[in-house]
């Protein structure tokens, strides 16, 4: 690349070679790097407070696996949530859908159909409820916030009715064993999360479905004028989120060997927060699966750190609030362009 600037005036779109630190297309990478910095910071804090634990490499590996395992269900939900938010929506019903799918698949009747029947039920309930959300939003033209809030309330009610407000114990050996299986020393649930996230990444970045999601969230009118069926796509997005809830319900049931109507409380807030911390724009059109996953892992690591350092609950809350603010601020302070980005949002 020579120094002449002339072609720029002639050709307004010319690309000067830009460094990694200034290239706008690399901005998500830079954010993710900053988030990984936050993770390292959390690790260091842990190591300072409990050096005897963090000094043991086996424990450290083991602890990482525990973190991944604990992050798995919420992680799967966050994959769906990332799609929803990128597509310009919001889904407040995810926690309730997990609870509903969970109690539905652990009713005595369903359990009698065996593991496959349970998994099928959970997924079907999730997708079905997600479709209801999608139809209300895309065709009923409800604001996503209201439609999914209504679903939240209704699904928790239905879950309470189905479960008779009792915790339902899963007697299915296969389902219960998922959480305790550790192929190659890695928890099965963590592997499922990685698989779902990888599929999500491909879907978002390499398929028309993903590209259309970005287009609808970025400029719904442009997408419509370009011939995209915005309504149908929006509906499918909520079904996808419901699917993720169904999968997460199985994972959570396996972890707790049971389900209840009050399960997965406030998962919606955690999932949304993880996605936003991971760089997803709440107004739609921008976001990455990788960022969201790092966001989820940060939250799980914070919880883990609290357990390890035995922080009292009320202090946990205060510290957690601080860390959330810090994580976002760090991304901003380091990289000027990120800052500009946020002004505009």
């Amino acid at each position: 690349m020579t120094t002449t600037t002339t072609p720029q005036t002639q050709q307004p779109a010319a690309t000067p070679r830009v460094s990694f630190w200034r290239d706008e297309a690399k901005e998500p990478w830079r954010r993710n790097l900053a988030l990984i910095g936050v993770l390292i910071l959390l690790f260091i804090i842990g190591a300072v407070i409990r050096p005897e634990l963090y000094g043991d490499p086996k424990w450290v590996f083991d602890n990482m696996m525990v973190i991944l395992q604990q992050a798995s269900a919420i992680g799967v939900v966050t994959v769906g949530m990332t799609f929803i938010i990128i597509g310009g929506g919001i889904d407040l019903s995810v926690g309730a859908l997990i609870a509903l799918a969970g109690v539905w698949c652990t009713t005595v009747a369903t359990q009698s159909f065996g593991s496959a029947g349970m998994i099928f039920t959970a997924v079907a309930v999730g997708v079905g409820a997600g479709l209801v959300n999608g139809v209300l939003i895309a065709y009923g033209r409800l604001v996503p916030f209201i439609a999914t809030l209504a679903m939240l309330v209704a699904a928790r009610g239905l879950a309470a009715r189905i479960s008779g407000k009792q915790t339902q114990v899963s007697t299915d050996q296969f389902i219960n064993s998922i959480a305790s299986t550790r192929p190659f020393g890695i928890p099965m649930l963590a592997l499922i999360l990685v698989a779902v996230a990888a599929l999500g990444w491909v879907l978002l970045n390499r398929t028309t479905f993903g590209r259309r999601t970005v287009a609808i969230g970025g400029n719904a009118e442009a997408a419509r004028l370009a011939g995209i069926n915005v309504r149908r796509h929006t509906m499918l997005l909520y079904a996808l989120s419901g699917l993720c809830c169904g999968i997460a319900a199985i994972m959570l049931t396996s972890l707790a060997t049971s389900s209840q109507a009050a399960a997965a409380e406030l998962y919606e807030l955690d999932a949304i927060a993880a996605a936003i911390i991971g760089g997803t724009l709440l107004t739609g059109g921008r976001g990455t699966i990788v960022g969201s996953m790092i966001g989820v892992v940060i939250f799980a690591t914070i919880t883990n750190l609290f357990a390890i350092t035995n922080t009292p609950t009320e202090a946990q809350n205060m510290v957690k609030g601080g860390i959330i603010v810090l994580a976002v601020l760090i991304q901003q302070l380091k990289f000027k362009s990120v800052k500009q980005m946020l002004i505009r949002t």
């Binding site: 309470a160 008779g164 407000k165 959570l252 060997t257 049971s258 919880t303 035995n310 609950t313």
Partner: protein, 321 residues
């Protein structure tokens, strides 16, 4: 009540006549209960702490349980790794944490299961719990008898329950219903609050709107009862007989004074946490309960739900939280 740190706790200090009082082998007790967001749970944790402090031979190791069963499971994993002698555990949900109990027992750590029961007998060494069903029964009988005494044929009875998604709430309501049924009475309106004073106020207000005249109300929880009393004052509804639940100090005092519709409360005492610590110590030291013939602590202890009325309030004031 005795004691320093968290004030207002229920403990039993060393009784010199009790052979178990003598200091024995040093015991580390791990303890976990859900995060306190209301009085009863806060009292549980405070009692456990205070009771442990009365023993010179007990090291108390409390781990915070976080906001749900999943979070509690995560901290308990780290607790096992630290190999305490006994674990006292009040789980978020007995069924959800059953697997943990099994794991700890398998690792050779006896578990004292506090209040919310593990369904699997292999998951605990000893279970000490309140009697939720019995609590409802006690409230039902008190109200039933009182109304029969007043000769009310078909009384209007209200119920303000706690958080409805908890099994314990369901059990309490079932007990209440069953006891009332023996008098031929039924609940006319049942509202579920959230164990907080503001929700208690809201649900009580709704109840008063629904029922023009009420003969008796059972409120499951004395903490939310503060709101119920406030609602009674602001809407001027005092024609009925109110029975509380759990047994808070304020409620017991009010019953003793007898200047409000609150005539009784049925206990579900957080003192069980103090007892659980005592039991854990004995288990850790392989001792039995001195008054029993058995050489070891029994497998299961269920507290009876007692009815506190004006007559016996003074004796119970000590256990109010």
């Amino acid at each position: 009540t005795s004691n320093e740190t968290p004030n207002n706790t229920q403990t039993k200090g060393a009784d010199t006549n009790n052979p178990n009082a003598a200091a024995g082998k040093q015991v580390t007790i791990g303890f976990s209960a859900p995060a306190a967001d209301h009085g009863w749970i806060a009292a549980i944790t405070n009692n456990a702490k205070a009771q442990a402090a009365t023993y010179k031979d007990v090291t108390f190791k409390q781990v915070e349980a976080g906001k749900d069963a999943a979070a509690q499971r995560a901290v308990l994993e780290t607790l096992i790794a630290e190999k305490p002698d006994v674990i006292v555990l009040l789980p978020h949900d007995g069924k959800e944490l059953n697997a943990f109990g099994l794991k700890a027992m398998a690792a050779g750590i006896p578990v004292v299961n506090l209040d919310r029961a593990f369904p699997d007998a292999l998951a605990y060494r000893c279970q000490i719990k309140g009697d939720n069903y019995g609590m409802g029964v006690a409230a039902g009988h008190y109200i039933g008898k009182a109304l029969k005494a007043k000769n009310i044929a078909s009384p209007v009875i209200g119920e303000i329950a706690g958080m409805d998604e908890l099994e314990l709430t369901q059990e309490r309501s079932q007990g209440f219903k069953a006891a009332l049924a023996t008098y031929g009475f039924t609940v006319s309106n049942r509202r579920a609050a959230r164990f907080t004073a503001d929700s208690g106020q809201a649900e009580a207000t709704g109840l008063f709107q629904a029922l023009n005249k009420i003969d008796a109300v059972w409120n499951h929880d004395d903490d939310q009862g503060i709101g119920v009393l406030a609602a009674m004052n602001s809407s001027n509804r005092k024609e009925f007989l109110l029975v509380g639940g759990a047994g808070s100090k304020a409620a017991i005092e009010a019953i003793a004074k007898d200047d409000s519709p609150l005539k009784a409360t049925v206990t579900y005492s957080p003192s069980m946490a103090s007892s659980a610590i005592s039991l854990a110590r004995l288990i850790g030291q392989s001792k039995g309960m001195a008054d029993l013939v058995e050489l070891q602590v029994p497998k299961e202890i269920i507290l009876a739900s007692e009815t506190i009325t004006k007559e016996n309030a003074s004796t119970y004031l000590r256990l109010g939280f």
